[in-house]
């Protein structure tokens, strides 16, 4: 803890931050700390408050209540131009009346750095983003990916404590987006800069981030490593938002002292290893399609649930089944096309899953 209470390990920290616009609460009592050097993603659908959260960090929005700390210093009243943060705008906002060099040198010039130092730093950052030799190009002479890299260089040259990125890849086509994801991640590692990355694309967040905060209606629904959020979603919203899943309404029937429980849903009874719930309570369970094993009825395992295939979709490397089990519970099952047995519509099958596969959600 530093003198005024911020955690020293956090580069930027939001403490109970709320931001409302009239009646609308865009950010609702958000607290989070971002660690030095990590790639942090703010993930959520449009209107969830992720961009407002980012703009609060950048200084473009003031919190209605709560505090923002940057390197342990409270910065609520510090305007953007005096913060050690830099923002990559969604539309990039490159200066069209300047060439690449002048765009990148902008921050150092307004801070009146010596010309020689400016030239050195611009040169090395252009090397970092692989744009050496493009100094005199105008913005409209660059491709989308090159403009992207200019925007990153223009921010990184200032050596910000945190680099804030507001859906910077949104305007690119899929192929370029995937390439830029890899490049961004590589640049982040090479520069050692802390990145806070706003996106509505869960694939992007999972691929790049060290930690992800999923936001919903101005609140943080869940915060953690991508693998953790994927395998142990906390709420129906998170489970749905991150990847495909089956959400099953269940009633808790029995609960063991070790935290295990037996759940029931429409004639479907199964055990889970970990459930923070009391018997008699109704909850929802998330069960990922790829966690479900499918077998022919005659080869059923003892813990298998009998069902009927109602739909088959061939997805190339994967095959997606819809199976009706119990008393009308429809489950989506996903298998590896190559390595597993194939079924057709109306086939009698048996479904099974490990007891740690279903996740009992908070709601």
């Amino acid at each position: 803890m530093s003198a005024d209470g911020a955690r020293a390990s956090d580069v930027i920290e939001l403490r109970d931050v709320t931001r409302s616009f009239g009646e609308v609460v865009a950010v609702d009592h958000v607290s989070l700390g971002i660690r030095q050097g990590e790639f942090f993603a703010l993930l959520g659908p449009s209107g969830c408050g992720k961009t407002t959260t980012l703009r609060i960090m950048a200084g473009f929005e003031r919190p209605s209540s709560g505090d923002v700390y940057l390197r342990g210093r409270r910065v609520n009243d510090v305007p953007p131009y005096r913060r050690e943060t830099n923002l990559i705008f969604q539309q990039l906002a490159l200066f069209p009346h300047m060439d690449v060099y002048d765009n990148v040198a902008f921050g150092l010039r307004v801070k009146r750095r010596p010309a020689a130092e400016t030239a050195d730093r611009v040169r090395s950052v252009l090397q970092l983003v692989d744009l050496a030799g493009y100094e005199r190009r105008r913005m409209h002479e660059l491709s989308g990916g090159q403009q992207q890299r200019v925007a990153i260089a223009r921010a990184l040259v200032n050596e910000p404590a945190v680099l804030l990125l507001d859906e910077p890849l949104g305007a690119l086509d899929l192929k370029l987006r995937l390439q830029m994801q890899r490049e961004l991640k590589a640049m982040q590692r090479r520069s050692g800069t802390t990145f806070v990355y706003v996106t509505h694309d869960q694939g992007e967040a999972l691929a790049m981030a060290d930690r992800v905060a999923v936001m919903q209606l101005g609140k943080i629904a869940q915060l953690g490593a991508p693998e953790h959020i994927y395998s142990r979603p906390a709420t129906r919203f998170v489970a749905h938002f991150i990847g495909d899943t089956n959400i099953i309404p269940v009633t808790v029937r029995e609960r063991g002292v070790d935290g295990s429980a037996v759940l029931e849903a429409n004639g479907l009874r199964f055990a889970v290893t970990d459930a923070d719930a009391r018997p008699g309570e109704t909850r929802h369970v998330s069960l990922r399609p790829e966690k479900i094993r499918i077998a022919a009825a005659h080869a059923a395992r003892p813990d298998g649930h009998a069902g009927t295939v109602t739909d088959v979709t061939f997805l190339g490397p994967l095959t997606r089944y819809e199976v009706s089990v119990g008393e009308g519970v429809r489950l989506v099952v996903q298998t590896q096309t190559e390595s597993e047995e194939h079924f057709r519509r109306d086939d009698r099958v048996s479904l099974s899953w490990a007891p740690n596969a279903p996740v009992v959600l908070k709601d």
């Binding site: 539309q91 990039l92 200066f95 069209p96 009346h97 902008f106 105008r138 409209h140 223009r154």
Partner: protein, 517 residues
């Protein structure tokens, strides 16, 4: 009609350019060429002869008096342009900060109101304000700041003030148009990179608004260089510019010298256009990446308060001559005295009974409506071709269409007068419509080029045609509030026209224009 219009609109650029080209070439270029041919005739002993000589050219380029006239013309135009920019830029910038749409619409109307009112009315307004017994001097005397009236009129200062007043909309409009397109994210990007408000303005906003500045200076300079009525009526004979030299030579029937002066003026104006065009071209590389997201940022802080004060000061400056014209129209005294000596409607009675004004008014209405239709249709088509189509010699064509702006109306008037007499069309309403359409075309072109077709409504000026000639003649002879009464009637008529037009023709689009911001 509509189908034909659509047909032409779909054709190639050359077809779209045809009406504007025919109008400018047929009514303007041919008339000017005719006038220019007189530069080779001879004026000797007060007589115009058809003997070919270059005596007029010789006189113009050897007599130092004319060098002084050219220098004065350029100096006045430069001064007016600089002053209009100094006032116009902060005004345009302040307008982008206005959040209340009511205030915004009111400010637009006030700023454009001088365009709706005849030049003679505006000059008359300045006479009321600036003369020795005018409003400003009377006010200063009354509060004891000065012991005797100070000279605000019949000198260069008065001319500059009145010209800036008249030309200000042409400066504000293009700058505002560019500033409204400004992507707010660029300002935030500058702030984010460490630039405070002033730095962001100087390094990003201002450089990016330069195309508007260049466009505004181009229009104002070329209009100022050829101004005639203002230097004539407010200059007290001391502001000797080319347009006045032309006028005097025309009156003296020294048409060869008038022709030489007209040619020199045209060359000067075209040179200025070329210089500004060159400047504009070097700025063309500044195209924004991505789609701009204009946004007005919230007012607050010292700078915004200062801008707000500038805006209101400019609005007052623009309105004041018109306001005092209206007040004076009810003056009980016959001597334009201020404060007014009692309330009277006698000048209105006189105006309505004075036959030359009455006939002028009817004629003006007919000619203004018809010529506006012709000019806006031709101008929109030409603007479409010039901005969207692939046209070779775009710059030259633009200069050609704008050239009627450059020529002083005095020179155009005398040239067209000669042309129409030669064609035996003089005195027909149709020919007057074409002349006025030709004169309005550049304005229609400029307005539609800026994608502000709504604003072309401002071209409908009943006061712009034959009536002002009667007023000009009257003003040279009499000094009583008759003109104030007539001007007030014209202002009222114009307001009604604009309100009706806005409501029924362009109301939806103007609302969209405001909403878009």
């Amino acid at each position: 009609m509509a189908a034909a219009f659509a047909f032409v609109a779909r054709r190639r650029a050359s077809l779209q350019l045809l009406p504007a080209f025919a109008l400018t070439a047929g009514m303007f270029a041919s008339a000017m060429l005719l006038l220019f041919s007189y530069s080779a005739y001879t004026f000797r002993g007060g007589q115009l002869t058809e003997e070919v000589s270059f005596l007029a050219w010789q006189k113009f380029f050897t007599d130092p008096f004319y060098f002084g006239v050219v220098a004065k013309t350029l100096q006045l135009a430069l001064g007016v342009t600089a002053a209009a920019l100094a006032i116009g830029y902060p005004t345009a910038y302040a307008l982008t900060k206005v959040r209340s749409s009511k205030l915004l619409v009111a400010a637009y109307i006030v700023i454009f109101s001088p365009l709706l009112v005849s030049l003679v009315v505006r000059v008359y307004g300045w006479l009321l304000l600036l003369s020795d017994n005018g409003v400003i001097n009377q006010a200063l005397l009354a509060i004891g700041v000065i012991a005797e009236p100070i000279r605000l009129i019949y000198n260069e200062a008065g001319v500059v003030i009145a010209l800036v007043h008249i030309l200000l909309p042409f400066m504000i409009f293009p700058i505002l148009s560019v500033l409204l397109q400004f992507d707010h994210a660029l300002r935030e990007a500058a702030n984010d990179l460490g630039a405070n408000r002033v730095q962001a303005f100087l390094r990003v906003v201002f450089p990016m608004s330069l195309p508007g500045v260049v466009a505004g200076c181009q229009i104002v300079f070329t209009l100022a260089i050829s101004a005639f009525v203002t230097p004539e009526l407010l200059g007290g004979g001391k502001v000797q510019v080319l347009s006045r030299a032309i006028w005097f030579n025309v009156v003296d029937v020294n048409w060869p010298l008038a022709a030489v002066e007209a040619i020199v003026l045209l060359v000067l104006a075209l040179a200025a256009l070329a210089v500004f065009d060159l400047a504009a071209r070097s700025l063309r590389a500044m195209r924004p990446t991505g789609s701009p997201r204009p946004r007005r940022d919230s007012p607050g802080g010292f700078i915004d308060r200062a801008l707000r004060i500038v805006l209101f000061a400019v609005l007052a400056f623009v309105l004041s001559p018109l306001v005092f014209v209206v007040i004076n129209s009810f003056n009980g005294s016959a001597f334009n005295s201020f404060p007014p000596q009692g309330f009277s409607l006698q000048w209105y009675r006189f105006v309505l009974g004075y036959a030359p004004f009455r006939e002028g008014m009817v004629n003006s209405l007919i000619i203004a409506s018809a010529s506006t239709l012709v000019a806006v249709a031709a101008g929109m088509l030409a603007a479409l071709a010039l901005t969207r189509g692939k046209v070779r010699g775009r710059g030259a064509l633009n200069a050609f269409f704008l050239s009627p702006l450059v020529m002083p109306r005095v020179a155009v008037g005398i040239a067209v007068f000669i042309l129409l007499i030669r064609l035996r069309l003089f005195g027909t309403t149709g020919s007057l419509v074409l002349v006025h359409a030709m004169l309005s075309l550049p304005f229609a072109l400029v307005l539609t080029s800026f994608d502000e077709t709504e604003a072309s409504i401002f071209l409908v000026r009943p006061s712009n045609t034959t009536l002002p000639i009667q007023m000009f003649l009257y003003l040279e002879q009499y000094q009583n509030p008759t003109l104030a009464a007539l001007s007030t009637l014209l202002i009222a008529a114009t307001i009604i026209l604009v309100v009706v037009a806005l409501r029924f023709v362009r109301g939806a689009e103007l609302a969209r224009l405001v909403a878009r911001r």
